[in-house]
Structure formats: C-alpha cells, structure tokens
C-alpha cells in the first residue's frame, strides 16, 4: 500500500513541463508551513507564560501585590497599579483584554520593567546579555558539530581499530555525564587543583576596560572569557555528534552508491566528501534541533558555574531575586531563540537533502 503511494509520488514529477514549477511551489509552501509553525509555537509559549505569570494562584503578580501590601503598607489599589506598570498589564481590565494587550506589548518588544533595577525595561537588560549567549553557544555548536562530524567519520573509516574503540568509549562517556558536572570538573581540576588557569579572571563576558569593537583585543578577550563555557558545551555535545556520525557513516559506507562510486574510479577524497560525508552528515544534522534546545537550556547552569554574563546567568539571578518580569522576558527570548534556530536548521536541512523538497512533510 505504501508502495503505491510512493510510486505515485516518485513518478509524479515525471509529468512533463509543469514539474519544475510544481516543485518550486511545494518547496515554497514547505517554507511557509515551517515558518507558520514556528510562529504558532512562539505564540503558544508566550500565552503559556502569560497564564503562568498572571493567572496562577499565588503566581508572581499576586505574590508581588501581596508583598507590597504587607511589607510597604501600600493600599491594594496602589500596589496593583505598581504591579500593573511593572508587568505592563492593566489589572483592572478583563483577562482577555489583558491578554491581548500583553500580546500587543510583546509584538512591540515591550517585556515590562525589572523589579530589581527599577525602571529599566526588561528588553534592554535582555538585549545586553543575549549577544554573549548567542556568541558562546553558536561558536560551541559550530566547533562541536564540525569536530564531532570529522571524528565520527574518522572512527567509521577506522572502525574496529584501537583508535575507534578509544574514541567510541570517550564519546559515550562524555555524552552520558551531564554537561554542568563537566563544567564543575573543569573548574575544580583545571582551575583550583592544578591552577592552570585563573578562573576568577575569566569571569564576566569581557575584561574591565575592553570596549566592544571590531579589533583584535576585543575579539581575543571575548574568546578568552567565553572559552570555558564553550569548552563545556563542546564536551557536552560532541559525543552525540561523534556517535551519530560514526553510525551513519558506517551505514553510508555500505550504501550502493558508495561502492558504485568506487567502481566508477572516483578519487578517494571525492568519495569521502561528496558521497560519504555529505550523506552521512544528514542524520546528525536532524539532531541539531533537539540539541539546540538542550544547549540553550544548559546555558543556565554553565553560565552560572563560570559566571559568564549571558542569558542563563541573567535568568539564574532573576530567579534568585524573584525578578518575575525579567524571568518571563528571558524565558521568552530563550524560547524564541530556540525556535528560530530550529527553523533555520530545518530550512538548511531542506537545502541539503533534495528529497525533503518533495516529501514536504515530516
């Protein structure tokens, strides 16, 4: 039965002239579908956050008002007014109106004001921390993905050798130890026990006095401060890429088109890159989206451990200080980042695998 559907689909573009146009149409609608899905996900997450913050009994807004009333002896109205301006909510309006207003504010980029740093818009705070997280996670993912892919391929080419066994075991060990424990281990051993690096100096996102700009000092300093988080992210994710790539390379090496490429007398290097590597990298690539969410999430601890001033660090402090608007804002931004990164990964994937352009869904 499946066979028939597949047949129908496989021979579908064989229908003469309109084939190319139809293809493009499907590809573009895939793009649209994917973007729509991302937007809806962001919308759902934003709504979820609203109801958590606003409606949960004993939730932040109520807690804050109660706190103002009891601690500062404010009247309920005054307290509510203050809460309203902080959370950028009109607490007297019906809930649906509040909800719409909240969405409207979000769309304008208004995330409310911080409880702790009075009067500072959350969006401003978030924007100050965001680049560092993007920088460290982006760099780490690029390094770990490409390195992992290369090592995985190497392992598959040298399968059942000592090198393969060592790397396989290393890969499964690093991928089964939580990344933040790895971070603590680095801190404790490299920083404290062996005193190889000065971890206190590496705190923060930049050294005092270094000004952002396109110059070597700045770039070197940025890398210096991000190096431990990056190292931790790389260690935390590389095992997955190595093992997935090893497996997929091994099965790709058994594919007929690789044997045929050898029979065609193609050069070994060409086969390894365009035939084996290109195809074998597809399965690890599909895991990229899951991994992005995990790494963004993990940044909460990693940045806390290394006192690296990114979103995770901001979120941790906000939670400690019960700075609800900031918590909400950071959470929304992280979620949006993950969704956008997923979208980009998916779109890139559909460029890498021509079959996806036809199959469309899934």
């Amino acid at each position: 039965m499946e066979g028939i559907k597949r047949l129908a689909r496989a021979t579908a573009p064989a229908q003469g002239g309109g084939a190319l146009g139809a293809l493009r149409k499907i590809a573009s609608s895939y793009l649209l579908r994917r973007i729509a899905k991302a937007l809806i996900t962001i919308f759902v997450m934003a709504s979820l956050t609203f109801f958590l913050v606003r409606l949960m009994p004993g939730g932040p807004v109520e807690a804050y008002i109660a706190n103002l009333v009891t601690q500062y002896n404010l009247s309920h109205e005054n307290a509510e007014a203050q809460a309203a301006s902080l959370f950028s909510l009109d607490l007297n309006a019906p809930v649906y109106q509040q909800y719409l207003e909240y969405l409207g504010n979000l769309a304008r980029g208004d995330l409310g004001e911080s409880l702790v740093s009075r009067g500072v818009p959350v969006s401003e705070i978030v924007m100050a921390y965001l680049p560092w997280t993007l920088f460290s996670i982006g760099t780490a993912l690029i390094i770990s993905f490409s390195l992992g892919i290369m090592l995985g391929m190497l392992m598959a080419y040298k399968r059942e050798t000592k090198l393969d066994h060592i790397l396989t075991n290393l890969g499964s060990i690093v991928s089964s130890i939580p990344d933040y424990l790895m971070g603590i281990l680095i801190l404790v051993w490299v920083g404290v026990q062996w005193e190889l690096i000065d971890v206190t100096n590496m705190r923060g996102s930049l050294s005092p006095g270094v000004q952002p700009g396109f110059n070597l000092t700045f770039i070197a300093d940025a890398f210096y401060h991000a190096s431990l988080p990056i190292l931790t992210y790389v260690l935390g994710t590389i095992g997955l890429w190595m093992l997935t790539m090893r497996g997929s390379t091994e099965s790709t090496l058994g594919e007929d088109y690789v044997t045929v490429a050898k029979a065609r007398g193609l050069k070994e290097r060409r086969i390894a890159t365009a035939y084996v590597g290109r195809n074998a990298a597809l399965p690890p690539f599909t895991q990229l989206s899951i991994s992005i969410a995990l790494v963004f999430g993990g940044s909460l601890l990693i940045e806390w451990i290394f006192v690296y001033e990114g979103l995770g660090y901001l979120l941790y402090n906000a939670i400690q200080q019960r700075d609800y608007p900031v918590m909400q804002g950071v959470f929304l931004i992280i979620t949006t980042m993950v969704i956008v990164a997923n979208l980009l990964a998916d779109l890139l994937y559909s460029r890498l695998d021509p079959r996806i352009r036809i199959a469309g869904r899934d």
Binding site: M1, E2, K37, T41, V44, M45, L52, V53, M56, G59, P60, S172, I173, S175, S176, I177, P178, Y180, L181, I184, L185, L187, V188, V192, Q193, S289, I290, A293, L294, F296, G297, G298, L300, L301, W304, G312, L315, Y316, A318, I319, R322, Y324, M327, Q328, V330, F331, I334, T335, V338, I339, N342
Partner: protein
C-alpha cells in the same frame, strides 16, 4: 505427562518460572561485558542507596574537629566542611535523586507510550494533534522552563518535581513509539493475525507490544538519565529545596560554602559527581545488554 517429577513441578510453578526467567536474563546480560558491568554498577548503586540508609543513622554526625579530612579508615571518602562523613552522605543522598529520576522517567515513558500508541493506532486528527504537541514541547528549552516554574511555584514535593520533569520529557520517545506503531501495525504478520481472527488483544499484546518492549525499556533508562540531569541541575541551583541530604544538595552546599574553590575539599566535591556520573554511565552501558536481550536473533541458538 502423567509422572511429573518434583523438579519439573517446581520448574512449572510460578516462583520457579520467575526465577528461571531471572537466571536466563542474567545470563543474557552477561553476554555483553560492558553491558553487564553497567548492570552491576547500576544495581549496586540502587541497592546501596535504597537499603544502606536503613542501617545508618538518618543524620550524619557533625564533627567540627574533622573538617575536609582526606580519606582514612574511619572516613573512607573524607569529610565535608562540617566534618560530616562524605561516604555516609553519599549513601544517604542517592535515594531522593534516584526516586525522582525513576518516577519522572516512569511518568514520561507512560505519557510517551500512551500518546505514541494512540497517535499510531488512531491516525487522523488525533495523530496530527499529538504530533504537534510533541513538536511544540520539544522546542521548549526544558531547563529554563523548569527553573522558572521552580522559581514561581516553590516545588517542595518529590512527586511534583518528578511530575514536572516527566511532563516535559516525553516527546522524543513519543515520536519514536508512534513511528514504531505505524510500522508494526502494517507488518505482514500483523495482517496475518487479523486474517486469522486472533483478536485485538492478541495483536496488541502478543504481536506488537513485545516488539516494542526492548525499545521502551532502553528509552526508559535513557529517560532516567535525562530526569536525573534535571533534578541534579535544579537542586544544584538551589531551586528545589529538598531538605534531606542528596547528591545535588551536596554539590549545592559545596558551591555556596565555597568548597569548590578550596583545594582541600576535592574529595567532598568529587564524591557526588562520581556517584552521579557512575550511575549515568552505568545506565548507558547497561543499554548495550538490554538491546541484546531484546533482539530475538541473539536470544536463542549460538
């Protein structure tokens, strides 16, 4: 058939069968050395942390004269900043973490299997809906959400923590189960069973479920490792105010008391890290045996 010997009657009895099953499973486990080592590590940790505390004082005695001691006969893993024995804390501190880990894994596996099977069997709207939901949950950065929720809700009970983690961690497995059901229900032998009129219970429990059991078991252990990742993370951040000693709290205290930056405290810091890492590694290694046990081609014969 008439003359049944005592021995074979024993073999036929329920207890005998369970023991026999247990013995043969162990034998299968032992076939993969790495997997068996993992199994030994996991079962040792579970036994020690669940049974050990029964024989130990519930409060580890404080001794200010022995702060950050290196390992010795009386303190095999040294002592902490209050002079408490580290080994005792490790033995006492596994149960809460493991309980939450197993509970959360059970919750997420149950959700995943239920929704995945429903999606696969029902198809249509239910399938589209559940798949969407899974995709959505999958893109949530789980740790920040948990942290925010912990910040808002003040999680005090283990069940609440486990529930929250479980509710977030099902989508990967659910998608896999759905795919499995979709492929299994189209298998020729399932169709044959339908043609033979063997009935839905037979098809679900005899033909389909056993083929997924291994997959589910392996994913359950993976869910345990993932849940532990979250529990330890939350306790380490001090967001889950679990009062008892546990490995996460030990790390948190090490952090807040500055032990991390003291050269003397290395045993105190390494002990919980090693316990967690060993348990996680053990589970992952054990999966190699599990996948062999559930592969019918390796079950019998050579």
């Amino acid at each position: 058939m008439a003359a049944t010997t005592g021995e074979s009657r024993f073999r036929d009895s329920a207890v005998g069968r369970v023991l026999g099953w247990f013995a043969s499973t162990l034998k299968l486990m032992a076939r993969n050395k790495v997997g068996f080592a993992g199994f030994l590590v996991v079962s040792t940790i579970v036994l020690v942390t669940f049974i050990g505390p029964i024989f130990l004082p519930s409060e580890v005695p404080v001794d200010v004269k022995e702060i950050y001691e290196t390992p010795s006969l009386s303190h095999p893993l040294g002592t902490d900043s209050e002079g408490k024995d580290v080994l005792l804390q490790i033995i006492n501190g596994g149960r809460p973490i493991l309980t939450i880990g197993f509970l959360a894994a059970a919750i997420s596996t149950t959700i995943a299997v239920t929704l995945g099977s429903l999606s696969g069997f029902l198809g249509g709207r239910a399938d589209t809906g559940f798949t969407w939901l899974a995709d959505m949950v999958l893109t949530i950065p789980q740790l920040p959400l948990l942290a925010v929720l912990a910040g808002i809700l003040r999680l005090n009970s283990k069940i609440a923590v486990a529930g929250l983690i479980g509710v977030l961690f099902w989508p990967t497995l659910m998608r896999a189960i759905r795919a499995q059901v979709l492929s299994l229900k189209e298998r020729d032998y399932v169709e044959s069973a339908r043609a033979l009129g063997l009935g839905t219970p037979h098809i679900v429990f005899r033909e389909i479920a056993p083929n997924m059991a291994g997959y589910i078991a392996i994913n359950f252990t993976l869910a345990v490792t993932a849940s532990m990742y979250f529990v330890v993370a939350l306790t380490l951040l001090g967001l889950v105010p679990l009062s008892e000693d546990n490995w996460g709290v030990m790390l948190n205290l090490a952090w807040t008391r500055g032990a991390i930056f003291s050269k003397d405290s290395i045993f105190y810091i390494m002990a919980p890290i090693a316990a967690i890492a060993l348990f996680q590694l053990g589970l992952v290694a054990m999966n190699r045996s599990l996948s062999e046990i559930f592969d019918p081609r390796l079950r019998r014969g050579s």
